[in-house]
Amino acid sequence: MNQGRAPVRFQNVSRSFGSVVALDDFCLNIDAGEFITLLGPSGSGKTTALNILAGFDRATSGEVYIGERAVGALPPEKRNVGMVFQSFALFPHMSVFENVAFPLRMRGVAGPQIKQRVERTLEMVQLAGYGTRRPAALSGGQRQRVALARAVVAEPPVLLMDESLSALDLKLREELQEEIRRLHREFGTTVVFVTHDQGEALTLSDRIALMDAGRIRQLDTPGALYDRPASRFVADFIGRTNIVPMDDGSHVSAVGLDHAPDHAVALSLRPEKLTRSPDRSDIRFEATVQDVAFRGATTELRLCLASGLPLRMSEPRSGALSLPARGETITVGFMRDDATALHE
Protein backbone atom coordinates (compact mmCIF):
# COMPACT_ATOMS: atom_id res chain seq x y z
CA MET A 1 0.00 0.00 0.00
CA ASN A 2 2.96 2.22 0.23
CA GLN A 3 2.87 3.25 -3.38
CA GLY A 4 0.09 5.69 -2.30
CA ARG A 5 2.23 8.42 -0.83
CA ALA A 6 3.53 11.64 -2.27
CA PRO A 7 5.44 14.68 -1.09
CA VAL A 8 3.54 17.97 -0.93
CA ARG A 9 5.12 21.33 -1.50
CA PHE A 10 3.76 24.82 -0.93
CA GLN A 11 5.98 27.23 -2.84
CA ASN A 12 5.64 30.91 -1.95
CA VAL A 13 1.86 30.64 -1.74
CA SER A 14 -0.03 33.84 -0.95
CA ARG A 15 -3.73 34.33 -0.70
CA SER A 16 -5.48 37.56 0.09
CA PHE A 17 -9.16 38.36 0.42
CA GLY A 18 -9.38 42.02 -0.45
CA SER A 19 -6.97 43.75 1.90
CA VAL A 20 -6.84 40.78 4.28
CA VAL A 21 -3.80 38.57 3.76
CA ALA A 22 -4.70 35.03 4.77
CA LEU A 23 -1.51 33.36 3.55
CA ASP A 24 1.69 35.32 3.21
CA ASP A 25 4.43 33.81 1.07
CA PHE A 26 3.77 30.42 2.61
CA CYS A 27 6.46 27.78 2.03
CA LEU A 28 6.30 24.21 3.28
CA ASN A 29 7.86 20.95 2.15
CA ILE A 30 6.08 17.85 3.33
CA ASP A 31 7.82 14.53 2.89
CA ALA A 32 6.10 11.55 1.36
CA GLY A 33 4.39 9.56 4.11
CA GLU A 34 4.83 12.30 6.66
CA PHE A 35 2.09 13.25 9.13
CA ILE A 36 2.21 16.99 9.32
CA THR A 37 -0.07 19.26 11.27
CA LEU A 38 -0.89 22.85 10.48
CA LEU A 39 -1.54 24.26 13.93
CA GLY A 40 -2.60 27.74 14.79
CA PRO A 41 -5.30 29.97 16.17
CA SER A 42 -8.29 30.80 14.00
CA GLY A 43 -7.35 33.20 11.26
CA SER A 44 -3.80 31.96 11.14
CA GLY A 45 -4.18 30.73 7.56
CA LYS A 46 -4.12 26.99 8.21
CA THR A 47 -7.54 26.34 6.70
CA THR A 48 -6.75 28.58 3.74
CA ALA A 49 -3.62 26.54 3.09
CA LEU A 50 -5.64 23.31 3.27
CA ASN A 51 -8.35 24.67 0.96
CA ILE A 52 -5.72 25.67 -1.58
CA LEU A 53 -4.20 22.22 -1.36
CA ALA A 54 -7.62 20.55 -1.75
CA GLY A 55 -8.55 22.79 -4.66
CA PHE A 56 -11.45 24.62 -3.02
CA ASP A 57 -9.53 27.87 -3.21
CA ARG A 58 -6.96 29.37 -5.55
CA ALA A 59 -3.69 30.95 -4.46
CA THR A 60 -3.29 34.60 -5.34
CA SER A 61 0.32 33.76 -6.19
CA GLY A 62 2.68 30.85 -5.76
CA GLU A 63 2.23 27.17 -6.56
CA VAL A 64 1.31 23.94 -4.85
CA TYR A 65 2.83 20.58 -5.82
CA ILE A 66 1.58 17.10 -5.07
CA GLY A 67 4.38 14.76 -5.99
CA GLU A 68 6.05 16.38 -8.98
CA ARG A 69 2.83 17.82 -10.32
CA ALA A 70 1.84 21.47 -9.97
CA VAL A 71 -1.83 21.27 -8.98
CA GLY A 72 -2.71 24.95 -8.48
CA ALA A 73 -4.91 25.05 -11.57
CA LEU A 74 -6.55 21.65 -11.10
CA PRO A 75 -10.09 21.25 -9.75
CA PRO A 76 -10.44 19.16 -6.55
CA GLU A 77 -11.56 16.04 -8.40
CA LYS A 78 -8.33 15.92 -10.42
CA ARG A 79 -5.98 16.15 -7.44
CA ASN A 80 -6.43 12.62 -6.14
CA VAL A 81 -6.48 13.52 -2.47
CA GLY A 82 -8.68 12.19 0.31
CA MET A 83 -10.28 14.51 2.80
CA VAL A 84 -12.00 14.25 6.16
CA PHE A 85 -14.15 17.22 7.08
CA GLN A 86 -14.95 18.69 10.45
CA SER A 87 -18.67 18.20 9.81
CA PHE A 88 -18.02 14.65 8.51
CA ALA A 89 -19.83 15.66 5.29
CA LEU A 90 -21.30 12.20 4.78
CA PHE A 91 -23.90 11.99 2.02
CA PRO A 92 -27.10 11.61 4.04
CA HIS A 93 -29.06 10.04 1.18
CA MET A 94 -26.58 7.21 0.68
CA SER A 95 -25.89 4.14 2.77
CA VAL A 96 -22.57 3.76 4.56
CA PHE A 97 -21.52 1.41 1.78
CA GLU A 98 -22.41 3.92 -0.94
CA ASN A 99 -20.63 6.71 0.91
CA VAL A 100 -17.43 4.74 1.06
CA ALA A 101 -17.87 3.46 -2.50
CA PHE A 102 -18.36 6.98 -3.88
CA PRO A 103 -14.69 7.81 -4.57
CA LEU A 104 -14.25 4.42 -6.23
CA ARG A 105 -17.30 4.91 -8.45
CA MET A 106 -16.03 8.35 -9.42
CA ARG A 107 -12.75 6.76 -10.41
CA GLY A 108 -14.52 4.18 -12.54
CA VAL A 109 -13.55 1.17 -10.46
CA ALA A 110 -15.38 -2.01 -11.49
CA GLY A 111 -18.33 -3.23 -9.40
CA PRO A 112 -16.95 -6.41 -7.82
CA GLN A 113 -13.75 -4.63 -6.92
CA ILE A 114 -15.71 -1.83 -5.30
CA LYS A 115 -17.50 -4.25 -3.04
CA GLN A 116 -14.27 -5.90 -2.00
CA ARG A 117 -12.43 -2.65 -1.33
CA VAL A 118 -15.28 -0.98 0.52
CA GLU A 119 -15.74 -3.97 2.77
CA ARG A 120 -12.03 -4.17 3.49
CA THR A 121 -11.90 -0.46 4.35
CA LEU A 122 -14.97 -0.66 6.56
CA GLU A 123 -13.32 -3.53 8.36
CA MET A 124 -10.24 -1.43 8.85
CA VAL A 125 -12.25 1.30 10.59
CA GLN A 126 -14.10 -1.35 12.61
CA LEU A 127 -17.41 -0.84 10.86
CA ALA A 128 -17.75 -4.20 9.17
CA GLY A 129 -21.45 -4.99 8.77
CA TYR A 130 -22.59 -1.37 8.92
CA GLY A 131 -22.74 -1.00 5.14
CA THR A 132 -26.51 -0.86 4.76
CA ARG A 133 -27.11 1.79 7.39
CA ARG A 134 -27.76 5.40 6.74
CA PRO A 135 -25.34 7.94 8.28
CA ALA A 136 -28.17 9.36 10.39
CA ALA A 137 -28.40 6.01 12.20
CA LEU A 138 -24.76 6.15 13.35
CA SER A 139 -23.12 7.72 16.39
CA GLY A 140 -20.71 10.63 16.02
CA GLY A 141 -17.66 8.42 16.31
CA GLN A 142 -19.02 5.94 13.79
CA ARG A 143 -19.76 8.73 11.35
CA GLN A 144 -16.21 9.96 11.61
CA ARG A 145 -14.96 6.45 10.93
CA VAL A 146 -17.10 6.33 7.80
CA ALA A 147 -15.69 9.69 6.75
CA LEU A 148 -12.22 8.33 7.33
CA ALA A 149 -12.98 5.20 5.33
CA ARG A 150 -14.36 7.28 2.46
CA ALA A 151 -11.22 9.43 2.48
CA VAL A 152 -8.80 6.52 2.31
CA VAL A 153 -10.70 3.92 0.28
CA ALA A 154 -9.27 5.06 -3.03
CA GLU A 155 -5.79 5.09 -1.46
CA PRO A 156 -4.99 8.67 -2.34
CA PRO A 157 -1.32 9.62 -1.93
CA VAL A 158 -2.35 12.56 0.28
CA LEU A 159 -4.94 12.64 3.02
CA LEU A 160 -6.28 15.96 4.25
CA MET A 161 -7.98 16.34 7.60
CA ASP A 162 -9.73 19.58 8.49
CA GLU A 163 -10.38 19.87 12.23
CA SER A 164 -11.58 16.33 11.82
CA LEU A 165 -12.01 15.51 15.48
CA SER A 166 -13.22 18.85 16.84
CA ALA A 167 -16.87 17.85 16.68
CA LEU A 168 -16.35 14.85 18.97
CA ASP A 169 -16.16 14.67 22.73
CA LEU A 170 -12.86 14.19 24.50
CA LYS A 171 -12.99 10.44 24.97
CA LEU A 172 -14.00 9.72 21.38
CA ARG A 173 -11.35 12.12 20.22
CA GLU A 174 -8.62 10.25 22.03
CA GLU A 175 -9.91 6.95 20.70
CA LEU A 176 -9.93 8.24 17.14
CA GLN A 177 -6.50 9.84 17.50
CA GLU A 178 -5.13 6.40 18.14
CA GLU A 179 -7.06 5.04 15.22
CA ILE A 180 -5.76 7.71 12.90
CA ARG A 181 -2.22 6.98 13.97
CA ARG A 182 -2.76 3.30 13.32
CA LEU A 183 -4.26 4.00 9.89
CA HIS A 184 -1.40 6.29 9.06
CA ARG A 185 1.06 3.55 9.94
CA GLU A 186 -0.85 1.02 7.83
CA PHE A 187 -1.44 3.17 4.78
CA GLY A 188 1.69 5.26 4.99
CA THR A 189 -0.17 8.07 3.29
CA THR A 190 1.05 11.63 3.51
CA VAL A 191 -1.29 13.33 5.97
CA VAL A 192 -1.92 17.05 6.24
CA PHE A 193 -3.86 17.63 9.41
CA VAL A 194 -5.31 20.98 10.39
CA THR A 195 -6.22 21.79 13.97
CA HIS A 196 -6.26 24.52 16.56
CA ASP A 197 -5.84 21.96 19.32
CA GLN A 198 -2.17 21.81 20.27
CA GLY A 199 -2.61 18.65 22.33
CA GLU A 200 -3.98 16.82 19.30
CA ALA A 201 -1.13 18.17 17.17
CA LEU A 202 1.49 17.01 19.67
CA THR A 203 -0.06 13.54 19.87
CA LEU A 204 -0.44 12.84 16.17
CA SER A 205 2.18 14.63 14.18
CA ASP A 206 5.60 13.82 12.83
CA ARG A 207 6.10 17.53 12.42
CA ILE A 208 4.02 20.54 13.31
CA ALA A 209 3.90 23.78 11.37
CA LEU A 210 2.80 26.37 13.88
CA MET A 211 1.13 29.18 12.00
CA ASP A 212 0.21 32.73 12.78
CA ALA A 213 -0.99 35.55 10.53
CA GLY A 214 -0.53 33.61 7.31
CA ARG A 215 3.02 32.49 8.02
CA ILE A 216 4.78 29.55 9.65
CA ARG A 217 6.23 30.65 12.97
CA GLN A 218 8.04 27.43 13.63
CA LEU A 219 8.25 24.07 11.90
CA ASP A 220 9.51 21.26 14.06
CA THR A 221 8.85 17.93 15.67
CA PRO A 222 6.40 18.01 18.57
CA GLY A 223 9.21 17.49 21.11
CA ALA A 224 11.43 20.20 19.71
CA LEU A 225 8.50 22.58 19.46
CA TYR A 226 7.69 21.98 23.08
CA ASP A 227 11.20 22.05 24.43
CA ARG A 228 12.77 24.62 22.18
CA PRO A 229 10.20 27.19 21.16
CA ALA A 230 11.83 29.89 19.10
CA SER A 231 9.53 32.70 20.09
CA ARG A 232 7.17 33.88 22.77
CA PHE A 233 4.26 33.07 20.47
CA VAL A 234 5.32 29.46 20.09
CA ALA A 235 6.22 28.99 23.74
CA ASP A 236 2.87 30.38 24.72
CA PHE A 237 0.84 28.41 22.18
CA ILE A 238 2.41 25.01 22.80
CA GLY A 239 1.73 23.82 26.31
CA ARG A 240 1.70 26.21 29.22
CA THR A 241 4.66 28.32 30.16
CA ASN A 242 5.92 31.29 32.13
CA ILE A 243 7.35 34.07 30.02
CA VAL A 244 9.93 36.10 31.93
CA PRO A 245 10.86 39.30 30.07
CA MET A 246 14.61 39.72 29.88
CA ASP A 247 14.63 43.34 28.92
CA ASP A 248 13.81 44.29 32.50
CA GLY A 249 16.76 43.81 34.91
CA SER A 250 14.56 43.36 37.94
CA HIS A 251 12.96 40.21 36.45
CA VAL A 252 16.42 38.87 35.47
CA SER A 253 17.69 38.97 39.01
CA ALA A 254 14.36 37.94 40.47
CA VAL A 255 14.66 34.51 38.77
CA GLY A 256 18.20 34.12 40.12
CA LEU A 257 20.19 35.02 36.98
CA ASP A 258 23.27 37.26 36.91
CA HIS A 259 22.55 38.46 33.41
CA ALA A 260 20.19 37.78 30.56
CA PRO A 261 21.23 35.17 27.99
CA ASP A 262 22.71 36.66 24.82
CA HIS A 263 20.11 38.34 22.54
CA ALA A 264 17.26 36.84 24.53
CA VAL A 265 14.19 39.04 24.85
CA ALA A 266 12.50 36.63 27.21
CA LEU A 267 12.87 33.35 28.99
CA SER A 268 10.37 30.50 28.83
CA LEU A 269 10.06 28.53 32.06
CA ARG A 270 7.65 25.58 31.85
CA PRO A 271 5.62 25.26 35.11
CA GLU A 272 6.63 21.62 35.51
CA LYS A 273 10.36 22.49 35.24
CA LEU A 274 10.15 24.62 38.37
CA THR A 275 10.95 22.70 41.55
CA ARG A 276 11.30 23.19 45.27
CA SER A 277 13.85 20.39 45.46
CA PRO A 278 17.40 21.87 45.68
CA ASP A 279 19.08 18.84 44.07
CA ARG A 280 17.07 19.21 40.86
CA SER A 281 17.88 22.83 40.26
CA ASP A 282 21.02 24.80 39.61
CA ILE A 283 19.40 28.23 39.65
CA ARG A 284 17.31 29.26 42.62
CA PHE A 285 15.26 32.25 43.64
CA GLU A 286 12.64 33.24 46.17
CA ALA A 287 8.95 33.70 45.52
CA THR A 288 5.79 34.28 47.51
CA VAL A 289 2.99 31.71 47.35
CA GLN A 290 -0.30 33.27 46.32
CA ASP A 291 -2.46 30.23 45.77
CA VAL A 292 -2.32 26.44 45.93
CA ALA A 293 -4.62 24.23 43.89
CA PHE A 294 -4.90 20.46 43.59
CA ARG A 295 -5.02 19.06 40.08
CA GLY A 296 -5.12 15.34 40.68
CA ALA A 297 -1.64 14.11 39.77
CA THR A 298 -0.11 17.54 40.24
CA THR A 299 -0.33 20.51 42.53
CA GLU A 300 -0.54 23.92 40.93
CA LEU A 301 1.12 26.83 42.68
CA ARG A 302 0.64 30.46 41.84
CA LEU A 303 3.72 32.41 42.78
CA CYS A 304 4.84 36.02 42.73
CA LEU A 305 8.44 37.08 42.13
CA ALA A 306 10.19 39.82 44.07
CA SER A 307 9.93 41.87 40.86
CA GLY A 308 6.17 41.49 40.94
CA LEU A 309 5.97 39.01 38.00
CA PRO A 310 3.44 36.18 38.50
CA LEU A 311 4.66 32.61 37.90
CA ARG A 312 2.90 29.25 37.64
CA MET A 313 4.44 26.10 38.97
CA SER A 314 3.30 22.51 38.59
CA GLU A 315 4.55 19.96 41.09
CA PRO A 316 4.09 16.19 41.02
CA ARG A 317 2.29 15.08 44.18
CA SER A 318 5.12 12.96 45.46
CA GLY A 319 4.49 14.06 49.01
CA ALA A 320 8.22 14.51 49.74
CA LEU A 321 7.69 18.11 50.69
CA SER A 322 4.83 19.49 52.70
CA LEU A 323 2.70 22.00 50.88
CA PRO A 324 3.50 25.64 51.48
CA ALA A 325 0.92 27.95 52.97
CA ARG A 326 -0.52 30.88 51.18
CA GLY A 327 1.65 33.99 51.78
CA GLU A 328 4.71 31.91 52.62
CA THR A 329 7.99 32.75 50.89
CA ILE A 330 9.63 29.70 49.41
CA THR A 331 12.79 28.92 47.45
CA VAL A 332 12.19 27.71 43.92
CA GLY A 333 14.68 26.63 41.29
CA PHE A 334 15.20 25.18 37.80
CA MET A 335 17.95 23.67 35.70
CA ARG A 336 19.61 26.18 33.44
CA ASP A 337 19.13 23.87 30.43
CA ASP A 338 15.40 23.65 30.98
CA ALA A 339 14.92 27.36 30.51
CA THR A 340 14.53 28.42 26.89
CA ALA A 341 15.85 31.73 25.75
CA LEU A 342 13.39 33.38 23.36
CA HIS A 343 14.81 35.69 20.76
CA GLU A 344 11.60 37.26 19.55
Binding site: G55, P75, P76, E77, V81, A89, M106
Partner: protein, 281 residues
Protein backbone atom coordinates in the same frame (compact mmCIF):
# COMPACT_ATOMS: atom_id res chain seq x y z
CA UNK B 1 -46.76 4.92 35.31
CA UNK B 2 -48.75 4.79 32.11
CA UNK B 3 -50.78 7.71 33.37
CA UNK B 4 -47.77 9.88 33.95
CA UNK B 5 -46.39 8.93 30.55
CA UNK B 6 -49.65 9.91 28.91
CA UNK B 7 -49.56 13.13 30.89
CA UNK B 8 -46.05 13.79 29.67
CA UNK B 9 -47.04 13.16 26.10
CA UNK B 10 -50.03 15.39 26.52
CA UNK B 11 -47.79 18.06 28.02
CA UNK B 12 -45.49 17.86 25.06
CA UNK B 13 -48.33 18.35 22.60
CA UNK B 14 -50.12 20.93 24.68
CA UNK B 15 -48.75 23.93 22.77
CA UNK B 16 -50.31 22.47 19.62
CA UNK B 17 -53.85 22.67 20.94
CA UNK B 18 -54.65 26.25 19.84
CA UNK B 19 -53.33 25.48 16.37
CA UNK B 20 -55.31 22.26 16.17
CA UNK B 21 -58.43 24.03 17.37
CA UNK B 22 -57.93 26.65 14.69
CA UNK B 23 -57.46 24.03 11.98
CA UNK B 24 -60.53 22.22 13.22
CA UNK B 25 -62.68 25.35 13.27
CA UNK B 26 -61.38 26.89 10.06
CA UNK B 27 -60.85 23.79 7.98
CA UNK B 28 -62.37 20.57 9.28
CA UNK B 29 -65.76 22.04 10.17
CA UNK B 30 -66.27 23.94 6.89
CA UNK B 31 -65.18 20.88 4.91
CA UNK B 32 -67.68 18.80 6.84
CA UNK B 33 -70.37 21.35 5.99
CA UNK B 34 -69.41 21.26 2.34
CA UNK B 35 -69.56 17.48 2.43
CA UNK B 36 -73.00 17.47 4.01
CA UNK B 37 -74.20 20.02 1.48
CA UNK B 38 -72.95 17.81 -1.34
CA UNK B 39 -74.73 14.62 -0.33
CA UNK B 40 -78.00 15.97 1.07
CA UNK B 41 -80.17 17.59 -1.50
CA UNK B 42 -82.09 17.77 0.83
CA UNK B 43 -82.36 13.99 1.46
CA UNK B 44 -79.31 11.81 1.12
CA UNK B 45 -78.49 11.56 -2.55
CA UNK B 46 -75.50 11.15 -4.80
CA UNK B 47 -77.30 12.97 -7.60
CA UNK B 48 -74.77 15.79 -7.68
CA UNK B 49 -71.88 13.38 -8.07
CA UNK B 50 -73.83 11.44 -10.64
CA UNK B 51 -74.36 14.62 -12.63
CA UNK B 52 -70.67 15.47 -12.39
CA UNK B 53 -69.38 12.12 -13.54
CA UNK B 54 -71.91 11.51 -16.30
CA UNK B 55 -71.92 14.85 -18.11
CA UNK B 56 -69.00 15.22 -20.46
CA UNK B 57 -68.72 18.95 -19.86
CA UNK B 58 -67.71 18.45 -16.23
CA UNK B 59 -65.33 15.62 -16.94
CA UNK B 60 -63.67 17.64 -19.69
CA UNK B 61 -63.17 20.53 -17.30
CA UNK B 62 -62.03 18.16 -14.56
CA UNK B 63 -59.30 16.58 -16.69
CA UNK B 64 -58.36 19.98 -17.99
CA UNK B 65 -57.95 21.19 -14.40
CA UNK B 66 -55.70 18.27 -13.48
CA UNK B 67 -53.68 18.70 -16.65
CA UNK B 68 -53.27 22.47 -16.33
CA UNK B 69 -52.33 22.21 -12.64
CA UNK B 70 -49.72 19.52 -13.25
CA UNK B 71 -48.34 21.40 -16.24
CA UNK B 72 -48.15 24.73 -14.41
CA UNK B 73 -46.44 23.06 -11.43
CA UNK B 74 -43.97 21.36 -13.75
CA UNK B 75 -43.17 24.53 -15.69
CA UNK B 76 -42.65 26.34 -12.37
CA UNK B 77 -40.30 23.55 -11.31
CA UNK B 78 -38.30 23.73 -14.53
CA UNK B 79 -37.90 27.50 -14.26
CA UNK B 80 -37.88 27.93 -10.48
CA UNK B 81 -35.35 25.25 -9.59
CA UNK B 82 -32.54 26.72 -11.71
CA UNK B 83 -33.45 30.19 -10.41
CA UNK B 84 -33.11 29.00 -6.82
CA UNK B 85 -29.88 27.25 -7.75
CA UNK B 86 -28.55 30.47 -9.18
CA UNK B 87 -29.44 32.43 -6.04
CA UNK B 88 -27.90 29.82 -3.74
CA UNK B 89 -24.74 30.05 -5.83
CA UNK B 90 -24.46 33.78 -5.22
CA UNK B 91 -22.42 35.31 -2.39
CA UNK B 92 -24.43 35.30 0.79
CA UNK B 93 -24.75 39.06 1.08
CA UNK B 94 -26.28 39.34 -2.40
CA UNK B 95 -28.92 36.65 -1.85
CA UNK B 96 -31.46 38.68 0.17
CA UNK B 97 -31.73 41.22 -2.62
CA UNK B 98 -32.28 38.52 -5.25
CA UNK B 99 -34.88 36.78 -3.09
CA UNK B 100 -36.56 40.11 -2.52
CA UNK B 101 -36.78 40.67 -6.28
CA UNK B 102 -38.32 37.23 -6.69
CA UNK B 103 -40.90 37.97 -4.00
CA UNK B 104 -41.87 41.50 -5.04
CA UNK B 105 -44.65 40.31 -7.41
CA UNK B 106 -46.32 38.52 -4.52
CA UNK B 107 -47.14 41.87 -3.00
CA UNK B 108 -49.31 42.78 -5.96
CA UNK B 109 -52.81 41.46 -6.14
CA UNK B 110 -53.41 38.62 -8.56
CA UNK B 111 -56.06 40.75 -10.22
CA UNK B 112 -53.63 43.57 -10.98
CA UNK B 113 -50.99 41.18 -12.26
CA UNK B 114 -53.54 39.42 -14.41
CA UNK B 115 -54.80 42.64 -15.96
CA UNK B 116 -51.20 43.64 -16.54
CA UNK B 117 -50.84 40.70 -18.91
CA UNK B 118 -53.36 42.38 -21.16
CA UNK B 119 -50.97 45.29 -21.47
CA UNK B 120 -48.18 42.91 -22.36
CA UNK B 121 -49.90 40.31 -24.52
CA UNK B 122 -52.79 42.29 -26.01
CA UNK B 123 -53.32 43.10 -29.68
CA UNK B 124 -51.92 46.56 -29.04
CA UNK B 125 -49.72 45.30 -26.18
CA UNK B 126 -46.00 45.52 -25.70
CA UNK B 127 -45.10 42.27 -27.43
CA UNK B 128 -47.22 42.86 -30.51
CA UNK B 129 -46.20 46.51 -30.75
CA UNK B 130 -42.53 45.60 -30.56
CA UNK B 131 -42.87 42.86 -33.18
CA UNK B 132 -44.92 45.09 -35.47
CA UNK B 133 -42.43 47.92 -35.08
CA UNK B 134 -39.47 45.73 -35.92
CA UNK B 135 -41.39 44.36 -38.88
CA UNK B 136 -41.16 40.75 -37.77
CA UNK B 137 -44.93 40.51 -38.13
CA UNK B 138 -47.34 42.71 -40.04
CA UNK B 139 -50.56 41.64 -38.28
CA UNK B 140 -50.90 41.52 -34.49
CA UNK B 141 -50.72 37.98 -33.15
CA UNK B 142 -53.36 36.52 -30.88
CA UNK B 143 -51.48 36.08 -27.63
CA UNK B 144 -54.18 37.09 -25.19
CA UNK B 145 -57.18 34.89 -24.33
CA UNK B 146 -55.37 31.73 -25.29
CA UNK B 147 -54.35 28.65 -23.36
CA UNK B 148 -50.81 29.94 -23.65
CA UNK B 149 -51.66 33.17 -21.87
CA UNK B 150 -53.27 31.18 -19.05
CA UNK B 151 -50.03 29.25 -18.55
CA UNK B 152 -47.91 32.37 -18.74
CA UNK B 153 -50.03 34.22 -16.18
CA UNK B 154 -50.34 31.28 -13.79
CA UNK B 155 -46.64 30.49 -13.92
CA UNK B 156 -45.80 34.14 -13.35
CA UNK B 157 -48.06 34.24 -10.31
CA UNK B 158 -46.91 30.97 -8.77
CA UNK B 159 -43.23 30.94 -9.69
CA UNK B 160 -42.02 32.84 -6.58
CA UNK B 161 -43.44 30.09 -4.39
CA UNK B 162 -41.38 27.50 -6.24
CA UNK B 163 -38.22 29.59 -6.08
CA UNK B 164 -38.58 30.19 -2.37
CA UNK B 165 -39.39 26.55 -1.59
CA UNK B 166 -36.45 25.28 -3.62
CA UNK B 167 -34.20 27.95 -2.20
CA UNK B 168 -34.96 27.07 1.39
CA UNK B 169 -34.44 23.37 0.66
CA UNK B 170 -31.13 24.16 -0.99
CA UNK B 171 -29.83 26.28 1.86
CA UNK B 172 -30.50 23.32 4.13
CA UNK B 173 -27.91 21.33 2.20
CA UNK B 174 -24.46 21.44 3.80
CA UNK B 175 -22.20 23.05 1.17
CA UNK B 176 -19.48 20.79 2.54
CA UNK B 177 -21.27 17.85 0.90
CA UNK B 178 -20.63 19.16 -2.58
CA UNK B 179 -17.01 19.86 -1.68
CA UNK B 180 -16.76 16.36 -0.27
CA UNK B 181 -18.12 14.95 -3.52
CA UNK B 182 -15.64 17.00 -5.53
CA UNK B 183 -12.68 15.92 -3.46
CA UNK B 184 -13.93 12.33 -3.78
CA UNK B 185 -13.36 12.72 -7.49
CA UNK B 186 -16.72 13.94 -8.76
CA UNK B 187 -16.66 16.59 -11.52
CA UNK B 188 -19.06 19.52 -10.91
CA UNK B 189 -22.01 18.02 -12.76
CA UNK B 190 -21.61 14.59 -11.17
CA UNK B 191 -21.39 16.22 -7.73
CA UNK B 192 -24.60 18.10 -8.54
CA UNK B 193 -26.41 15.08 -9.93
CA UNK B 194 -25.38 12.54 -7.31
CA UNK B 195 -25.38 14.72 -4.19
CA UNK B 196 -27.02 18.13 -4.52
CA UNK B 197 -29.91 17.16 -6.77
CA UNK B 198 -31.15 14.18 -4.73
CA UNK B 199 -30.91 16.22 -1.55
CA UNK B 200 -32.90 19.10 -3.01
CA UNK B 201 -35.56 17.05 -4.79
CA UNK B 202 -37.66 16.74 -1.66
CA UNK B 203 -37.92 20.53 -1.49
CA UNK B 204 -38.60 20.75 -5.21
CA UNK B 205 -41.37 18.20 -4.87
CA UNK B 206 -42.88 20.18 -2.00
CA UNK B 207 -42.86 23.24 -4.25
CA UNK B 208 -44.47 21.24 -7.05
CA UNK B 209 -47.19 19.99 -4.68
CA UNK B 210 -47.95 23.44 -3.28
CA UNK B 211 -48.25 24.90 -6.76
CA UNK B 212 -50.35 21.98 -7.92
CA UNK B 213 -52.74 22.49 -5.01
CA UNK B 214 -52.97 26.22 -5.62
CA UNK B 215 -53.50 25.72 -9.35
CA UNK B 216 -56.32 23.29 -8.74
CA UNK B 217 -58.22 26.12 -7.06
CA UNK B 218 -57.48 28.85 -9.63
CA UNK B 219 -60.37 30.56 -11.33
CA UNK B 220 -59.70 34.29 -11.61
CA UNK B 221 -56.74 33.95 -13.93
CA UNK B 222 -58.29 31.57 -16.46
CA UNK B 223 -61.46 33.68 -16.41
CA UNK B 224 -59.56 36.87 -17.15
CA UNK B 225 -56.84 35.81 -19.57
CA UNK B 226 -58.07 32.50 -20.95
CA UNK B 227 -60.03 31.69 -24.03
CA UNK B 228 -63.44 30.06 -23.99
CA UNK B 229 -61.98 26.57 -23.57
CA UNK B 230 -59.73 27.52 -20.65
CA UNK B 231 -62.16 26.67 -17.92
CA UNK B 232 -61.04 25.15 -14.66
CA UNK B 233 -63.16 23.43 -12.07
CA UNK B 234 -62.82 26.54 -9.90
CA UNK B 235 -64.69 28.55 -12.52
CA UNK B 236 -67.45 25.95 -12.60
CA UNK B 237 -67.79 26.08 -8.83
CA UNK B 238 -67.98 29.86 -8.89
CA UNK B 239 -70.67 29.64 -11.58
CA UNK B 240 -72.72 27.22 -9.55
CA UNK B 241 -72.43 29.33 -6.41
CA UNK B 242 -73.54 32.37 -8.38
CA UNK B 243 -76.65 30.39 -9.30
CA UNK B 244 -77.01 29.35 -5.66
CA UNK B 245 -76.60 25.70 -6.57
CA UNK B 246 -74.88 24.94 -3.32
CA UNK B 247 -75.20 21.22 -3.49
CA UNK B 248 -73.62 20.84 -6.91
CA UNK B 249 -70.93 23.41 -6.12
CA UNK B 250 -70.17 21.49 -2.92
CA UNK B 251 -70.01 18.19 -4.80
CA UNK B 252 -67.52 19.68 -7.26
CA UNK B 253 -65.49 21.10 -4.38
CA UNK B 254 -65.41 17.63 -2.81
CA UNK B 255 -64.28 16.07 -6.08
CA UNK B 256 -61.58 18.73 -6.32
CA UNK B 257 -60.45 18.20 -2.75
CA UNK B 258 -60.44 14.43 -2.92
CA UNK B 259 -58.58 14.28 -6.23
CA UNK B 260 -55.99 16.72 -4.94
CA UNK B 261 -55.44 14.70 -1.78
CA UNK B 262 -55.34 11.38 -3.62
CA UNK B 263 -52.97 12.66 -6.27
CA UNK B 264 -50.60 14.19 -3.73
CA UNK B 265 -50.67 11.02 -1.67
CA UNK B 266 -49.65 9.11 -4.79
CA UNK B 267 -46.87 11.58 -5.51
CA UNK B 268 -45.65 11.24 -1.89
CA UNK B 269 -45.79 7.48 -2.11
CA UNK B 270 -43.66 7.44 -5.23
CA UNK B 271 -41.35 10.03 -3.69
CA UNK B 272 -40.89 8.04 -0.49
CA UNK B 273 -39.82 5.12 -2.64
CA UNK B 274 -37.24 7.02 -4.67
CA UNK B 275 -36.36 10.24 -2.92
CA UNK B 276 -34.24 11.01 0.09
CA UNK B 277 -36.06 12.89 2.79
CA UNK B 278 -34.11 14.63 5.55
CA UNK B 279 -36.71 13.43 8.03
CA UNK B 280 -36.04 9.74 7.65
CA UNK B 281 -33.56 8.10 9.99
Amino acid sequence: MTGSLTAMRFGRHFPLIPALALVFAMFAVPVAFVFVEAVFAPEFSLAHFDRFFTRSVYLTVYWNTLFVSATVASICLLIGYPMALFIVGQPERRRPLLLFLVLVPLWMSILVRTYAWMVVLGREGIVNSALLWTGIIDQPMTLMFTTGSVYVAMVQILLPIMVVTCYSAMTEIDPGLVRAARVCGAPPFAAFRRVFLPLSLEGALTGWSVIFILSMGFFIVPALVGGRRDVLLGNMIVNQIAQANWGFAAAMAIVLLVSTVVLLALVRLVAARFLYSPREV
